[in-house]
Amino acid sequence: MNRPTLWMEPPPDPQTIESLNLRVAKLERINASLMAHVERTMDQQGGAYSLFQTAIMLEGRVRARTEELTALMHSLERSNEALQAAKEEAETANRSKTRFLAAASHDLLQPLNAARLSLSALTDLAPGPEAKAVARQVERGLETIEDLIKTLIDISKLDAGIVRPVVKPVRLTDLVAGIEASFRPFAERKELRLVTRCADLVVETDGLLLRRILQNLVSNAIRYTESGGVLIAARRRGGATGKLCRIDVVDTGRGIPEHERGLVFEEFYRGGHDSEEGGIGLGLGLSIVQRMASTLRHDIALYSRIGHGTRLSLTLPIAAQRPDAQVPLAPLATALTGARVLVIENDASTAEALQRLLRNWDAEVRVFRDLAGVVTALGTGMARPDVMVIDYHLDNGACGLDVVDYLRRNRGWVTPVILTTADHGADIAAQAQATGAELVHKPIKPAQLRSLLAYMLA
């Protein structure tokens, strides 16, 4: 590129001193003008030209600022898009995680369901007191497994933000008594004392989550205690008008060394020695407790002395109101004799257990795997059932409600329906409601099933 040049006539003869003097004089004039201009530009007192200059500079500054802002806006738009994409991806991942969990829980709970039903039938068949006691123990073991699976599912749902706690007034004495009853056999087996000291308090919490928290704490305490006992104590803090309640689970176990105290709340942490019980316990206990407590905004604290024991304290608010009145249980059924029950269940062991249970209650039971079975039976003159127990998920992705639909459309049979599923999703609940079916989550509890059947047949 050419350098900018001041336009001047070339000197006629560059050699003469006269012409050089002329050039010098010109350049001095130019220089003086430029200096004066520069000084004037610095001066606040601007003339008309400087007004023009100022206007353009302002215009330029506004434009530069606009461009900057536009660029910033574009980059924000781009990062928004990226965030949106990431969010969608995360949501998709969450949805598939939830679907996976629903499916897994279904598969896990299905055999459990069958076992419990069989157990119930077995108890009815073998009326000896010893057999009943053993059956009760098995029943409790199954319950614990069920709780553990449910806890895992719930924790995942808590993590995914799917489950939100339902906080309302809960009566502590009922809850603690239930826990004491369920853990007494375990304590007795280890020759540990299980003591509760529970003031009659009503706390503001989610009853289900609090029960899980305490179950975990008590279960842990029993597992890691070799002698002595476990105390569950609940009392008001801060005097008679205190607004807080503290629930302590205290054991006389080996204690937790100081350097491990931070770790006990992590997943899959177990104490220095495995419990001799060997059975359940994945080391999920305290990690779950902490998540649930933090979801509920209850403080949890740990105190431990080596060789003396450990105390875990949960602090939660006292409720301002009394709890809602207990919903009275449906009266026990007696009218099942001779009732025609149609069962649609694709899982063979569950089907068998259910059949045995229903027959024990003197019901007439027909069991089919799918709609095709029902259609065949209808062809051979199957009588109209009084009630149907239908599994939602059948083989090959078929839906149990198709059977209901088929019978309504082709036979005009509007029969009461109990829909069973291990899927806790809102979708299925909505479908059940739309069909007018009663929804029962697996594993089916025999007593619940029996009273529901009686109610529906009444």
């Binding site: 336009w7 003008s33 030209y49 007004l51």
Partner: protein, 389 residues
């Protein structure tokens, strides 16, 4: 070529009329006949200096009683039919869809900046007060300024200050390159050494614009002597200004003409961009008078025009696209652009573009764009077809 009197009715309700009638009274009469006067709320008139201004204002008052009138003399009117060398261009705004208030700034040679700003603020208040409930239209300001007062920079900065963000565009009145008498009119009053300011609020989409067509060369000049209040440069590079300029562009200093100034503009570089500073004429003493403020020590760059047709087409196409179809354009086109287009024999192509996009306006001695007074540009306001909801 005689045009007679022609009228165009635009979608926004504006009627534009142009006539090449030989004298003012007949021109106004034919305009009044051509348009639907019942809907008109304000007239902007651009007239040939050959018209008798007193007759013009009297005729306008007679034919358009109660209608606001603003206008100025020009160096040529712009109409869709081409340049009106002797005649009248009228933009008749309807009362529906446009609300217009106007004010007059006098004695701009010694402008009272505070007074001018408060006049403009008064106009803004007037527009605010008359505004119907819940209406928020698009606003712009139009300036018509007497160029012989050498005061556009001061006027524009005072007005833009008071407008506080409302975009301003406008033109400096002309007198067919005679440089003896430019005239402004407002509501029957004839003025010199004055500026007419209009504030317009409309329901239609608008966009202001500025287009130029020159690029800098490597040749630089320094203003070494000037009389700034007269915009007169007596020396460039410590040589008589006219001679130095003529030598640089390779012309005989005795034969410099407006055509030469149009073909070889000078520009100053401010904030990374070049702005034309046009020479209006050579004075007998060999100094050069400009259309804009100039100062000693200012460095000027010789510029050369680029393809004026292409630059103009690009600007109008861009506006057409941005507004979803142009309804009309009120334009202020530097008289030198017309002269340069003429000498390059592309004037008919510019006229075609103006016709296609409905450009009306006049040929100026300077253009106003926001807070700037410019030379050798085409500025204006474009009105789009779609009525904003």
């Amino acid at each position: 070529m005689a045009h007679g009197t022609q009228m165009r009715r635009h979608l926004c309700g504006i009627q534009t009329v142009w006539t090449d009638a030989g004298e003012a009274e007949g021109a106004v009469a034919s305009v009044a006949e051509a348009i639907d006067r019942s809907i008109v709320g304000h007239l902007i008139v651009f007239f040939s200096p050959a018209y008798e201004a007193e007759v013009l204002t009297a005729s306008l008052a007679a034919h358009f009683p109660g209608v606001g009138v603003s206008g100025c003399s020009t160096s040529g009117g712009i109409s869709p039919a081409g340049t009106i060398e002797r005649g009248l261009v009228v933009i008749a705004f309807p009362r529906q869809g446009f609300r217009i208030v106007s004010g007059l700034l006098t004695q701009i040679t010694r402008l009272d900046v505070e007074g001018a700003a408060s006049t403009v603020r008064g106009l803004r208040r007037l527009l605010d007060q008359g505004r119907p409930e819940g209406v928020g239209g698009h606003r712009f300001a139009l300036s018509l300024i007497d160029s012989l007062a050498n005061a556009e920079e001061t006027v524009v900065s005072a007005v833009a200050w008071a407008l506080d963000g409302i975009p301003l565009i406008g033109g400096s009145a002309g007198d067919d390159l005679a440089f003896s008498s430019t005239i402004l009119i407002r509501d029957g009053v004839l003025c010199r050494d004055a500026a007419v300011i209009l504030l317009v609020e409309t329901d239609f989409p608008i966009r202001i614009f500025k287009s130029d067509n020159f690029e800098p060369t490597q040749r630089k000049f320094v203003v070494t002597a000037a009389r700034e209040e007269e915009r007169r440069v007596s020396e460039l590079n410590a040589e008589p200004a006219a001679r130095e300029y003529a030598m640089a562009v390779g012309l005989d200093p005795e034969n410099l003409s407006t055509m030469s100034f149009a073909a070889y503009p000078l520009a100053v570089k401010i904030g990374g961009e070049y702005y034309c500073r046009s020479i209006s004429r050579v004075e007998p003493d060999g100094s050069l008078t400009f259309f804009c403020a100039i100062g000693e020590g200012v460095v000027m760059t010789l510029a050369q025009p680029r393809d004026i047709v292409e630059a103009t087409r690009a600007e109008l196409e861009g506006l057409d696209e941005a507004l979803g179809g142009l309804d009309l354009v009120i334009g202020f086109d530097c008289v030198f652009r017309r002269l340069d287009a003429e000498s390059r024999q592309v004037r008919h192509r510019i006229a075609d573009l103006y016709k296609r996009y409905g450009v009306v306006g006049f040929e100026t001695y300077g253009e106003q764009y926001r807070a700037m007074h410019l030379n050798q540009t085409f500025t204006g306001i474009a009105i789009g077809r779609a009525e904003t909801p």
